[in-house]
Structure formats: structure tokens, C-alpha cells
Assembly symmetry: C2
Homo-oligomer: 185 residues x 2
């Protein structure tokens, strides 16, 4: 064993690079987030960690709803733009074409192949960040990203973010079938 | 726009495939989890969603500590095995070589290139699952997975899980630099 300790850190791999959408001061705003995970199945919940000073957090607090948008690798530049600049200093309402589902204060990005509409269920103050937990009310998917009615990762071609190297990555090809490769023969 | 709705769902992409470790009835147990995300930076926190009936949850509740272990693509079969079989029916204490850091009830898997030791900070009951939020107390990394002292995603070769197709995937090559590709020229 040849391990070393690097102290408390956030180097989980892989991590998604998604866009959290909210209405702030009447405008759609999108922030880049890689600290996001599914939090429950029934009903479905999702968590996003947002630094307390973030502009987006104001809109989520005001309206109690938000969106999570899963971009493709092709949208890396737009995602990065949304991570580099705050909605305080840049109007990001036209980075993506915006549509709405059932929640009229949760803006969704057309160009992102998967979009979740979320209603805030709970939030935890964890120091530098608030962990916002939302119930997923609806999922929108590009029709050409479905296979037999289910979202297909290879068609979505989602964007991942790697801390350490601070780089974006796509997802590799199918390496093994889950609930299968580990079965004892 | 050619979108369709599929109802509330958990189809976030990409998602990690990690192992949550705990001591249950005196034995190291590892469960496969893809619903895991970083929850804060300072201090670092991580969240894992665990179905209420899970064997691992008993150990976490008893000791207040757990581990998160980031496997490589090469460990897909072992990870899948840990997802297929409960610690109730299979002794999983020998699937991996086990070591301990500062938390003596948080077993760590030697073969996984990144290991987090975590102390439970909070938990949320979200229906089918408990979202366990832990403070990351220490990070262990394989020395040959570091570049300039930081974990290197390409050396780690981490394992991702895709819902929908229910498949495991590696991470693709560097597609773009973050905090860079979105800069306005």
C-alpha cells in the first residue's frame, strides 16, 4: 500500500458539471455546479451545494424553486462562462434559450438535454456552503436522447468536471453492465 | 425544441460509483452508491443517499462515522458485487484489503485510489432514502495518482454509473480547461 494523506478535501470523482437555474430579480440566471447529487428515490430528490454569497441562492430563497440542467460536452464553454461570471456582474439570461415547465420561477435551458424542475424541500448550513435539497417535480429530456423511453448517457454525452486538474471531461464508452459484472459465476 | 417529459426521476449525469464503508456487527462492510455529492468546501462535507433498509446504515448510525472510497474502472466487478449483495447475506469484509486512518470505525478500501474518512454531521429523511451528510476528516490518495500533489483524474481512472442503461463508464480524456474555455476573448 502506497498511500498519502492530503487532509480534508473535496476530490470526489467523477463529478457532474451542471447548471442550477433560478429567477433572480426577474431574470433567468444559471450557475455552474459540480457539487450535486441525487438524494432520494421516492420521491426523487436532488442536492446542490451553493456558496452562501452566490447570486443564484437569492432567487432560490425567494421563490423556493430551482432547476438543474444537465449539459452536453458541446456546451462546455457556456457552462464555464456561467461558472466564471456572477449574475451580479453579467446578465446570463441569454446564454441559453429558456423554457418553463410547471414551476414558473424555475428557468430551464433548452440546449441542455436533461432538465429537472425542483422545489426546495430542505437546506443545511454547512459552513462555506448551503446544501439545498429539492424535490424533483418533473424531468424534461431531449427526445433524441432517449432509448426505449429512458435517458441514454451516450446520446446525452454529459459533461463532467474534475477537481485537481480543473478540467472538463466526457463520459467514456460502456465498460461493464451493472447488476451483472459482479455476479458470481 | 424537441423535449418530452418523463416525470420525476433521478437521471442525473454523470454520477460516480463509489463504495460507502462502515463497520457493521464488528465487520467491515462496503455498499455501492452512485447518489453521492460534495456538500460544502469549508469544512469539506459529502452527502450519500442510503435506502433506509440498508445494512450499512446500521453501522453508520451506531458509530457516527463512515468512509467513501473512489474505485477505479478496474474495480467495476467488485463494486458491482457490493451493489448486488447485502452485508446481511454476504460477508463483504474481504472483498477489499481494509485499512483505517484516524477514525477507527470507518474502514477504508486499499484498492480504491481515493478514500475519505467521514464523521456524520447531519441526516435528512427524504422518504425512501436517508441523506447522510458527513464532514470529511481526512483524504487518503494513492501516491501514483497524484500530479503536483493533487489527485489526477486520469491516473485515478474513476468509475461512473449511468442510470437508464445501467452501465459503468470511465471518464473521457480532457475536453477543455475549466475557468478558461468560457472566458470571453
Amino acid at each position: 500500500m502506497d498511500k498519502t494523506t492530503i487532509g480534508p478535501s473535496t476530490h470526489l470523482f467523477p463529478k457532474p458539471a451542471v447548471l442550477v437555474g433560478a429567477m433572480v430579480a426577474g431574470k433567468a440566471n444559471f450557475m455552474a455546479v459540480s457539487w450535486c447529487g441525487i438524494a432520494s428515490q421516492t420521491p426523487p430528490h436532488i442536492s446542490v451545494a451553493i456558496r452562501k454569497i452566490r447570486h443564484t441562492l437569492k432567487g432560490i430563497a425567494e421563490h423556493g424553486v430551482f432547476s438543474v440542467n444537465v449539459p452536453s460536452l458541446a456546451q462546455a464553454a457556456q457552462v464555464d462562462y456561467c461558472g466564471l461570471y456572477s449574475g451580479r456582474e453579467r446578465d446570463k439570461s441569454e446564454v441559453f434559450a429558456v423554457f418553463f415547465g410547471g414551476l414558473d420561477q424555475a428557468p430551464l435551458a433548452v440546449e441542455c438535454p436533461v432538465n429537472f424542475e425542483c422545489r426546495v424541500k430542505d437546506s443545511l448550513d454547512l459552513g462555506s456552503h448551503i446544501l439545498v435539497v429539492g424535490e424533483i417535480i418533473q424531468t424534461h429530456v431531449d427526445q433524441d436522447c432517449l432509448t426505449e423511453g429512458k435517458p441514454d448517457v451516450m446520446k446525452i454525452d454529459p459533461l463532467g468536471y474534475a477537481s485537481g486538474s480543473m478540467t472538463y471531461h466526457g463520459v467514456g464508452p460502456v465498460a461493464a453492465k451493472a447488476y451483472s459484472v459482479g455476479k458470481e459465476s
